[in-house]
Amino acid sequence: MTAEVEETIKRIQSQKGVQGIIIVNAEGIPIKSTLDNSSTVQYAGNVHQLLMKARGMVRDIDPQNDLTFLRVRSKKNEIMIAPGVKTI
């Protein structure tokens, strides 16, 4: 199972235009990262708040709805965030 996970991550990393991947757990700890530590920490810290806000907004408008993906496009690059599925 872990081998599959590794392979998937490698596949994404090899896609054109991908600068790096960071996997963060629910507590905000970066589990896996292909970027340097300081950038990882910065991204991890900022993304969590944004994700909460975005998810909150989607559910506020329609409680049955949920956030599936978040893209933050900026002048220089794009940050793509996939929120993990919350199991009860």
């Binding site: 994404i12 896609q15 905000g28 896996k32 810290g45």
Partner: protein, 623 residues
């Protein structure tokens, strides 16, 4: 039984009466409880009748009848709310890793790695990753397939810039207020040469001897994003009247101060001036303008002041200027005759020429490379009634320049010295500063004493400004446009600098604009030339005519008389007329006396009396 109860009832009632309570008691047999109610109709019975007690009226006083208006509407009240100024500061956040369980030390590499490995083995983690990885891959591929934000009509955009439908407008972006208690005038502004993120503002009080004693001398450099606090303070010895960034080195600024000295700052070194000019060799009046020159070393400046001198300095050696020019129109270098300079103009594309705007309303054009000081002053342009506060060549057509003075702004052509080729009407308030737009040859800006900013577009309208905005209630003393033509800063008398953004139509070059403006200037120049020629002809004719007539008279009088002779002649004539009048009066008097004398001879006895009377009357007349 009932009578007893009745008796009780009466007592009860009485007791209640004294307390002003009305109670009605009724009785019912026990066996009748629970029975259904049979209602019966009967006429009204008066149970209580309380008559008014007049004695109670003594406890009250009668009020005067008053008119009370009543309206059935919600009562509203007006409230004003003014939020307190919120001072905000920008700060950065330092991120640190968090979320680690309490017993784990995040510094310890081994422990963290072990923790991470443990998480990776978790099944839930793996499932989640597989799910979202699929999603992520899909989006990555999507991105690579097409650029969803591609600009399709980019090329067409450049040609079809027809924003003529848009009304010209300008809006205030930010306002920078003088942080000191005692407000000073923002006399000069200068944009930072690279990036235009900073604005240097010089503050001083130009009112003669009216500056309060505790007025601060500081000038500030503002970051346009942060209007709450200036980015840097410059502390001169005397308040700065003008301030300029070095276009080659954006850390160096030079400022001209109120006491005539020049100082320069290096922003890397701090708030104190790096060097100041010596007082003996500086100007004797406030330095109104300082400009950087185009030189190999990039350290040359020249300054102008109302003491009549234009001085050239090298900032590395501020002990004395390396060149000096006295603005004496008679070209003799006489300081007493000199015109006070209020503005300077220098164009880097024409490094040998420069122009000076004077207090007397003349623009003096000078040549730097002249051999003798007398030849330095080439010519003068007259036409204004007051000091010329702004002088600038059109960035696209350097032969034409703009002057802002008294109540008008005028555009001149270098070739026509007698008058300007175009001018605005006379406004109600003085115009205090102005400048061309660096991107559009037909647009220029002026600011007035009543706090309005006017944007003029001479291709659109010549009689009125295209846009007139009231920026503030006090006078606007200075204006400066950024190099991109989009932002401009204007400084007011109370030290408030306002940053405005003009609409796109006013800062994008229209098609054919250059050609049309050039045509307009040429046309006006030609018109003025023709007028000048006609004036000259007329003057020649007059002169020749008056010369002829004078030749005829010249045989009697001695040709042209000087003013003194004319004055003497006028005096003589005046006294002659006076004498003639006096003689006339005296003759008339003598006539009157003669007639009286005849009457006296007839009545000799009353001679004394009549003499007395006549002498009395004579005295009256003389009085």
């Amino acid at each position: 039984m009932t009578s007893l109860i009745e008796g009780i009832w009466h007592i009860l009632f009485y007791v209640c009466m004294s307390k002003m309570e009305i109670v009605y008691v009724y009785t019912k047999k026990r066996s009748e409880f629970g029975r259904q109610c049979n209602f019966s109709d009967r006429p009204a019975e008066l149970h209580v009748d309380i008559l008014p007690d007049i004695s109670l009226a003594a406890n009250f006083t009668v009020r005067d009848p008053c008119n009370v208006t009543v309206q059935c509407a919600e009562e509203m009240s007006e409230h004003e709310v003014n939020t307190e100024r919120f001072e905000s500061e920008s700060r950065g956040i330092n991120h640190v890793e968090g979320g680690w369980p309490k017993d784990l030390n995040p510094e310890d590499m081994e422990v963290t790695i072990r923790y991470r490995k443990k998480v990776e083995k978790d099944e839930h983690y793996q499932n989640t990753i597989m799910q979202i990885a699929g999603l992520m891959e899909h989006c990555c591929k999507q991105n690579n397939a097409t650029d969803i934000y591609q600009e399709f009509f980019e090329e067409e955009d450049d040609e079809v810039v027809e924003e003529s439908e848009e009304q010209p407008s300008a809006k205030t972006i930010n306002v920078f207020r003088d942080p000191n208690e005692v407000k000073r005038t923002a006399t000069s502004l200068c944009w930072h040469p690279d990036g235009n993120h900073k604005l240097a503002v010089a503050y001083s009080s130009l009112e003669f001897q009216r500056a309060p004693n505790d007025m601060s001398f500081d000038s500030y450099i503002w970051d346009i994003e942060n209007p709450n606090k200036p980015e840097m303070t410059l502390k001169p010895v005397s308040p700065l009247v003008c301030l300029e960034y070095n276009p080659k080195d954006s850390h160096i600024l030079v400022g001209g101060s109120y006491n005539g000295q020049i100082a320069y700052w290096d922003t890397r070194k701090g708030s104190q001036p790096a060097e100041m000019s010596t007082i003996e060799h500086s100007h004797r009046d406030p330095v109104y303008k300082v400009i950087w020159l185009q030189s190999k070393t990039g350290t040359d400046i020249f300054s102008a002041s109302t003491d009549g001198q234009v001085l050239w300095w090298d900032i590395r050696k501020m002990s004395e200027p390396f060149e000096r020019l006295v603005l004496d129109p008679s070209k003799k270098g006489n300081l007493d005759n000199a015109l006070g300079a209020v503005s300077l103009e220098f164009e880097t594309t024409m490094p040998t020429k420069f122009m000076v705007g004077t207090e007397q309303g003349l623009v003096v054009s000078c040549n730097r490379k002249a051999k003798t000081p007398a030849e330095k002053i080439v010519c003068t342009y007259s036409g204004h009634h007051g000091p010329i506060y702004a002088l600038q060549r059109n960035p696209f057509f350097p032969k034409n320049f703009l002057t802002v003075a008294d109540w008008t702004a005028r555009i001149w052509s270098e070739d026509i010295k007698e008058s300007s080729i175009m001018w605005t009407k006379y406004h109600m308030a003085h115009l205090l500063d102005g400048c061309w737009s660096p991107v559009r040859p037909s647009v220029f800006f002026t600011v007035k004493m009543d706090g309005t900013l006017d944007v003029w577009d001479i291709l659109f309208k010549q009689n009125d400004p295209t846009l007139s905005l009231k920026v503030c209630d006090e006078a606007l003393c200075s204006i400066r446009v950024q190099d991109n033509g989009r932002f401009l800063g204007c400084g007011s008398q109370l030290g408030t600098t306002t940053l405005l953004e003009v609409s796109a139509g006013l800062c994008t070059l229209q098609k054919n604009e250059k050609a049309m403006v050039s045509e307009m200037f040429e046309r006006e120049t030609k018109r003025e030339k023709i007028l000048e020629a006609r004036h000259r002809e007329m003057r020649l004719k007059e002169r020749s005519r008056s010369e002829q007539s004078r030749e005829d008279e010249g045989k009697e009088a001695d040709g042209e008389e000087s003013t003194e002779e004319l004055v003497a002649r006028a005096e003589r004539e005046f006294f002659d007329i006076m004498e003639a009048e006096k003689k006339k009066e005296w003759n008339e008097e003598r006539q009157r006396e003669k007639e009286k004398g005849v009457c006296e001879e007839k009545d000799f006895q009353e001679e004394h009396e009549t003499n007395g009377v006549s002498s009395f009357t004579r005295r009256e007349i003389s009085l």
